[in-house]
């Protein structure tokens, strides 16, 4: 049990516990704030995996952007407290079959795969520079397409939200 493990389990616990509360709490605002902790925990795990740029993006975009949008979305609705989120279960049999088959696949994957063990030492240098190189050389097409994708998302959102 070294320092690395302790930090990993700390962040994993934060992620899982807060995710549990996101689903179970009755107040939507509390759900949103618990989601903040979930995102934060995931960012911590990114750091442990050596993806520092991704961790910062996770904080800036998810915590700083998407969560704010989510809170706005909550405030756009009429009722906040004591909303009946559960809509009742329909189609229980097909759902059970589908979920059962899917979890079966995942569990058998987990058990039967020979997982590659990568060294636990974190990469020393920051990944931002390498990302820049890849983005401008190998993935230049993806990068420009991303501009189009964001443009389309922008126009679509403006169309839907306009009076």
């Amino acid at each position: 049990m070294n320092l690395y493990n302790i930090i990993f389990y700390l962040f994993a616990a934060i992620t899982l516990v807060s995710a549990f509360f996101v689903v179970t709490t009755r107040n939507v605002i509390y759900s949103a704030f618990n989601l903040l902790l979930t995102f934060f925990g995931v960012a911590g795990i990114y750091v442990l995996l050596g993806a520092d740029f991704l961790a910062v993006v996770q904080i800036i975009v998810y915590v700083g952007g998407i969560l704010i949008l989510l809170l706005f979305g909550v405030m756009l609705t009429n009722k906040i407290v004591n909303v009946q989120i559960r809509t009742g279960a329909t189609q229980i049999l097909p759902a059970t079959i589908a979920v059962g088959a899917f979890s079966g696949i995942l569990i058998s994957l987990l058990v039967n795969t020979e997982w590659k063990k990568v060294g636990t030492a974190l990469p020393g240098a920051s990944t931002t520079a390498n990302l820049g190189m890849l983005m401008m050389n190998e993935y230049i097409l993806i990068f420009e397409l991303l501009g189009i994708l964001l443009l389309v998302a922008l126009i679509g959102a403006a169309t839907i939200a306009r009076k």
Partner: protein
């Protein structure tokens, strides 16, 4: 710089999107300019693709493929979108809902589809799928005053995001097992990873995500509601372009499964999907009273027929699917085009009964619809017949005769609800009295679509030879 020459169709589309943004911003009469400008863009992009069809090359660091069947797909998407745009002009006037974004989103969705067809890397498939889907989510709900359209948009968005989640999860697993996202690498090393369960599960999840977009059986729940709720012209594009793009993505990412013998581990999955989609679509379509819902279930059944081609896993199957997709694009755009012309304001005249006595009121429309229905039912000498013919031949060659037999049975069932429309049009008197507004551009679009249906029916061999020349 030379690489840009090969992606001219993509560049034309992207430039068209940006220019139409500027037109929409600065010209008050954009409602008159934009549809014609977008048709021009579609035609330019489509014909440049056809012009470059012989220059097969992989460009941009193994990201994108150009030439061959890719360009054939791009041509089909662009032509289909041009026909849909032609239909939309009068349809939008009918509903008094002009939004400039409509045409811009239409163009962007075609760019997404073309990317999916030309993808040589998993990330490009994802980008193309997202560009296309985001456009469709917005297009489905573009008529914001209509409650059904909002419902369709939200439903499509939620279920579509879920399917995309599956797709990305699958891509992550594939990347995790082979440490590469290149489809070329996947193709060459398929036999090496064939026994890796993580890799196979990844491919299966990718397949789940794409099966959602082709509207195959267990992932079909959204189809009737979305096709019914969205504007009819948008449904026309979703059911043709969206489906064709997803099929093209399946074909490129499963090329190793489809062309290398004895590697088709997914044949049982494809077979099951095909059987259930065909039978479910055909049987449930009989019970429908709304024509758009009927077309939605027919779309599920057609996805099933095309999946037979994937199950047979040979080059006949691949060229059969491509031919079928081309035929289906024109048939469905024609059918939805006529629905959009007959449709009155505020979602009226959308039941099957509205078509009673159409032959007396509008003989030309009735004749065109009759040809399309015959073709959709798979009767010779129209395009739909040869589409099914090539697919079934591929199944027989792959020793999957039982699948072909199920397909024939399902076609026989589907004849009932297609022919019912024709019987209503020609042999029943109209019960309700309504006026069908003339739409010259809409009629032109339907006539072009029907001409292609007849052309593909008369000369199927020349087209299939062209496709199989590139399919290899």
């Amino acid at each position: 710089m030379n690489e840009f020459y090969y992606i001219i169709p993509f560049i034309i589309l992207a430039a068209g999107i940006l220019i139409s943004l500027v037109i929409e911003m600065y010209f008050t009469s954009s409602e008159k300019i934009l549809p014609w400008f977008s048709i021009l863009t579609f035609l330019a992009s489509g014909f440049s693709a056809l012009f470059l069809v012989n220059n097969v090359k992989v460009v941009f660091e193994n990201m994108l493929m150009s030439g061959g069947n890719v360009n054939f797909f791009i041509f089909i998407f662009n032509l289909g979108a041009a026909l849909v745009t032609l239909l939309s002009i009068d349809y939008i006037k009918k509903y008094h809902t002009y939004y400039g974004e409509y045409y811009i989103l239409l163009m962007s969705s075609v760019l997404g589809m073309s990317l999916m067809a030309g993808a040589k890397d998993l990330i490009v498939i994802f980008m193309g799928l997202e560009i296309m889907s985001v456009c469709f989510y917005a297009l489905a709900g573009i008529n914001r005053n209509k409650l059904k359209a909002n419902e369709a948009s939200l439903k499509y968005f939620l279920l579509g995001s879920f399917a995309t989640g599956f797709l990305v999860y699958g891509m992550a697993l594939v990347y995790g097992s082979m440490q590469n996202t290149s489809l070329e690498y996947l193709f060459l090393n398929f036999t090496k990873f064939n026994t890796n369960i993580l890799f196979l599960a990844g491919l299966l999840f990718i397949l789940f995500g794409l099966s959602f977009k082709i509207a195959a059986f267990p992932f079909h729940m959204w189809v009737p509601d979305v096709y019914q709720g969205s504007a009819t012209t948008v449904s026309a594009l979703m059911s043709t372009g969206g489906k064709a793009a997803a099929f093209s993505a399946i074909i490129v990412s499963f090329a190793s499964v489809l062309t290398v013998v004895n590697t088709n581990v997914f044949a049982p999955y494809f077979g099951a999907i095909a059987v259930f989609s065909m039978l479910f679509g055909s049987i449930v379509a009989i019970a429908q009273t709304d024509i758009k819902r009927m077309m939605a279930y027919s779309s599920i059944a057609h996805a099933g027929y095309m999946t037979i081609g994937l199950a047979s896993g040979n080059s006949y199957g691949v060229s059969g699917i491509i031919f079928y997709l081309a035929a289906y694009t024109f048939m469905n755009i024609g059918a939805f085009g006529i629905i959009s012309i007959v449709e009155g304001k505020n979602d009226t005249n959308l039941t099957i009964k509205s078509y009673a006595g159409l032959a007396n009121k509008k003989p030309i429309l009735a004749g065109l619809l009759a040809i399309i229905m015959f073709s959709l039912a798979g009767l010779p000498p129209f395009a739909g017949f040869f589409g099914k013919y090539y697919i079934f031949i591929a199944a027989v060659k792959a020793k999957l005769t039982w699948l072909a037999i199920v397909g024939v049975i399902s076609s026989a069932i589907s004849v009932y609800f297609y022919i019912r429309i024709i019987v209503l049009m020609y042999f029943k008197e109209s019960e309700e009295d309504f006026v069908i507004e003339n739409s010259n551009t809409g009629l032109l679009s339907v006539i072009i679509a029907v001409l292609f249906v007849i052309l593909l029916g008369i000369a199927p061999n020349s087209v299939i030879n062209l496709i199989s020349y590139f399919a290899k």
